[in-house]
Symmetry: C2
Subunit: 234 residues, 2 copies
């Protein structure tokens, strides 16, 4: 007998890291950065909504949507599919609001938009994510393609989803570093508690994201064939 | 019939992006940054070896090692396994030399070591990569575990490999941004050709890396079962 691998333990690790990452980004934006606001004289508070919504809304909810088939493998498939598409829809909307807050902060403080790799990759990622959602909705939910078309389209949906998810992770890492660099050049200590907090948040996020990808490609149940990454022999 | 998905087209995209990324990092370090050297009065030339070896040596060769079972699916498995482990070994050695050059540059110019997220994640990644290589060598090559142990260990090897690879990608993205920020704060134009080159190189690298992950989880052949990412129905 072999050791066997299934997705469950990776989903547990991912959930735990998600909670830690969410707590860290909130603590950073509220304790160190002064809190969150959609309207404020202190425009920094508007910016602070951006990392919170992108991480908790876009990445963490999107990750939970990705993992739902592995988290609830025994639940009725129509139910998990509905949770999958609703969570992704919420993630998309919160992501769009988060991006809006970055633009709003820039526009109200006269900072240029869209000059950084973070911004380009982020716009590209959420656009692909939106296209993927619409495609998935039409093909798998309503009006729903014919069964043989769905069967053929499913692997593309999964693989494109993993592709876009990796872009989202890279965007998040770039965002943390970019913001931290701005803060350090306007005076915060490179070795101080806030720098450590931001760096460790980014570290937790990349460990979280890599766990989500592994959970997504690992089988939900041991009895399923495990050739998701087919290497003919060993 | 379905559309069908196999790894081959993703490997073609990945190879093409690898060539582009390699050319871009060389053009950057040679044309804009003055070239490469292991010993030089201009210590920047020693640093320049770092991005070149990390990208072309560590990431691109490591990616080709990961994809080899998809690139040569019809070749004898012992041969592809040998290429896999040799390419990963070369990637590890070149990666270690690349990291050494960053330390050497820091030490010879009085820059502190290991204060950034890029450095922490990088050291962690290459350490895990080395552990993964040793484990893989012992289990699958020499002395080689019993067939049932190999069968059980293989999915862990694949999943841990994907996990470490995503960490490597994130490290690379952080490295490009960190170096570009240093250059911009010491005077290069934020909208100038070098900034665009570095940002676009990092963009090509993340698209490359995401393609490699997709190629790694897609089946080599259409006739293989495609439940590498098992979602029960569609």
């Amino acid at each position: 007998m072999g050791l066997g691998v299934r997705a469950a333990p990776f989903t547990y690790v991912a959930h735990a890291l998600a909670v830690v990452a969410a707590a860290m980004v909130l603590y950073w934006c509220i304790h160190f950065r002064g809190g969150l606001a959609f309207e404020a004289d202190n425009k920094n508070l508007i910016f602070n909504v951006h990392p919170v919504l992108m991480l908790i809304g876009f990445i963490i909810l999107g990750s939970e949507a990705i993992m739902i088939y592995k988290v609830l493998p025994t639940v009725n498939h129509d139910t998990t599919k509905l949770i999958h598409l609703v969570l992704h829809a919420i993630a998309l909307v919160l992501g769009a609001v988060g991006i809006y807050c970055a633009f709003k902060n820039h526009n109200e403080t006269g900072i240029a938009n869209l000059y950084s790799l973070h911004s380009w990759l982020g716009i590209g990622t959420i656009s692909l994510y939106g296209i993927q959602w619409i495609f998935g909705f039409l093909a798998f939910f309503f009006p729903k393609a014919a069964p043989n078309v769905r069967k053929g389209a499913l692997p593309w949906h999964v693989l494109l989803g993993i592709f876009v998810y990796i872009l989202a992770l890279a965007t998040a890492e770039l965002g943390f570093l970019e913001k931290l660099t701005f803060l350090q050049s306007s005076g915060i200590d490179k070795y101080g508690p806030e720098s450590f907090l931001v760096n460790f948040t980014a570290l937790v996020v990349v460990l979280f994201g890599a766990s989500v990808v592994v959970a997504a490609v690992a089988p939900a149940r041991l009895e399923e064939p495990q050739d998701y990454a087919p290497i003919p022999e060993n």
